[in-house]
Assembly symmetry: C2
Homo-oligomer: 371 residues x 2
DNA sequence: GTGAAAGCGCTAACAG
DNA sequence: CTGTTAGCGCTTTCAC
């Protein structure tokens, strides 16, 4: 296989037109509106183009003119290695990619990892819209995206005026989980949660920190727990909440260890993700604790490994989430943005999956009335 | 959080300049060359921009002018679901993404799945270069990419004139593996291979089909096997080669079953990927065959699961492969393409990993001389 | 069916 | 430090 030498100045639509002795319009039509010129002329145009090594209309120039880039940007403030390893992120990514593929749109991963304070990449991205996922709400990249005059869809984030949103009802889902644990009779619980903010904090998360959490999903899930357990008389300030910055099974294990060391009385470990719960499971086994006889452990997300482990968890359709976000952005009833308030919101169904890791507490300390 | 209403016509650099009573250059400088104007003026420009809701210079217009899009395209003729599930593809993808992140470049996934005959997406992508991975050499998208006047790096593909390449020495690697199996004494072997062409063929792959394979890596690996075994007197045309279109562990299992049913005399199963080998392993266990006592099984790639299973395989650094491709494209000694022949090639090291799935054949049929 | 004119929004010399 | 001048390469009315 060989290719044209490209030493000489690239041919342009104009030069091609000159060469052929026709107007630029005609050449443009040859590519974009075949029905606007005779087949014979079109053939001639394309043939000459081939000879001159003209690769067709320049995409950027065309984009400038048509105001369409043919791609959407994905903002994901995480190490890419995370995005490509975490099952939940991967599922979302896959869903988004599928939606893009459906509509023939490119999906541009924006380089906006943590520590990359340079927002310019967001400003420089020639895209028709943005999808934002797993970004803390105080992230400068996010506000950069919101400044751009293109449609944006946010996944899992709280509602922003004028920005479409896709996500599960985290509060309801976590409330269901909390109720399940409450109904089993647990009152002495511990929480394992993911990163609450950009600043690293591997250890207990204070009430203040919980409330100020910049990761919406985590904050919401913790809130739901606090409320539900508060309703049955559990004082939230006494509930240990251990946070981990990184999100691996190993981190879940160390978090569980830390929590159980300090609070051996705990009968249930509620985790805000399956990964953490899987780690907790490992740590429990390591300590010879039987699950669920000695310790109840619950997760969140419903990833494949969790299902395999029989984890009690909340399942959310991650791929659908991504796909919905992509669809919303790509083939919306793109009302001419005349109505500023008509933001679209898609709430996904979640399902409480009761597995084999939750049961009544060891010493069933039910609150009986009377002697 | 609220955002500016965008009902009114978007502000442009020109309108902002007019509003301020300065030239467009000055506004442009305020964004691109802060040192070219007084801090005070710059502050005023930016402030007014904010008030007018001017989001900064339009990326597409800028790209047209500067001839830089700030993104590279990734051509991957596969279902995205494959790319996001297969460990090898994922590793490569991660490596590429890392390289892009390093240089602040966007990574645009091109929608070019199989069945998508529309090459226009490749023509329409506003990118500064392409990375091509896992694409059959007769794919129209590939030729579309090669027409574009931008640098391109191909992963795992054969050398194309003027196109940089990154990949392992598949032939050498597979030859090493073949020698290992030969040295153990195996002469009655069977092969499991991945898709050889776009047209589905789940079953035996004829010699012709093997030679005409459009997937370079597969063809190369088979060639290496044919040559090495040919050298020790094994007539390749008698060696069963079973092909699978899809690439899952389950497919590996059915392929192994198909092969073993038809050729029970086989003492070694050489697979062109770990995934297939893992499936073969499953099938062997299902049949009560002991590995490696009754059957030797080998893989290729060195994925984590293979390592875990103790598979004898060839390890290739997939993430490095992706990273090398990205680096090559992004920060090359971008010689001004004056020298047409100076194509860069990076060959990655592979390592034969002898695990616990290869051993001498059951009935050690060594060829002794004399009675 | 074909062409002429008018920009899309921006940046890069180069002069002042 | 600031402005003037020229486009980058293309599409798109709107006449012919």
């Amino acid at each position: 296989m060989s290719r044209p030498i490209r030493t000489r100045r690239q041919a342009t639509l104009a030069s091609l037109a000159a060469e052929l002795g026709v107007s630029r319009t005609t050449v443009s039509n040859a590519y974009n509106r075949p029905d606007q010129l005779s087949p014979e002329l079109r053939r001639r145009v394309l043939e000459t183009a081939r000879q001159l090594g003209y690769p067709g209309p320049d995409p950027v120039a065309r984009s400038l003119r048509t105001r369409k880039a043919g791609a959407v940007g994905l903002l994901l403030t995480e190490n890419l290695s995370y995005a490509f390893r975490d099952p939940v992120a991967l599922g979302v990514l896959e869903g988004i990619a599928l939606a893009c593929e459906d509509s023939g749109t490119g999906l541009q991963l924006l380089p906006a990892g943590p520590g990359n304070e340079d927002v310019s990449t967001v400003h420089k991205a020639g895209v028709d819209g943005f999808i934002v996922y797993s970004v803390p709400d105080d992230d400068p990249h996010l506000s950069g995206v919101l400044q751009r005059p293109v449609p944006t869809v946010i996944i899992d984030q709280p509602l922003i005026d004028g920005v479409d949103r896709v996500g599960p009802d985290d509060a309801a889902a976590m409330t269901a989980m909390a109720n399940h644990v409450v109904e089993l009779g647990h009152r002495s619980i511990g929480i394992l949660c993911m990163r609450l903010s950009q600043d690293r904090n591997d250890g207990p998360a204070s009430m203040l920190r919980q409330h100020q959490a910049h990761y919406h999903t985590q904050r919401t899930r913790l809130d739901a727990l606090a409320t539900t357990f508060g309703n049955v008389g559990v004082e939230w300030s006494t509930v240990p909440v251990i946070e981990r910055f990184d999100h691996t099974v190993a981190d879940g294990a160390t978090a569980a260890a830390e929590l159980l060391d300090a609070n051996p009385e705990v009968t249930a470990l509620i985790c805000t993700s399956d990964i953490l719960a899987l780690g907790a499971l490992e740590e429990a086994h390591r300590r010879g604790l039987r699950v669920p006889a000695d310790l109840t452990i619950t997760g969140f997300d419903g990833i494949a490994d969790a299902q395999r482990a029989g984890l009690t968890t909340v399942h959310q359709p991650v791929q659908d989430k991504g796909h919905a976000a992509g669809s919303l952005l790509l083939n919306p009833i793109r009302k001419t943005s005349t109505v500023p308030g008509s933001t679209q919101v898609i709430t996904l169904d979640t399902e409480l999956k009761i597995g084999t890791t939750s049961a009544q507490p060891r010493t069933t300390e039910q609150h009986w009335f009377g002697p």
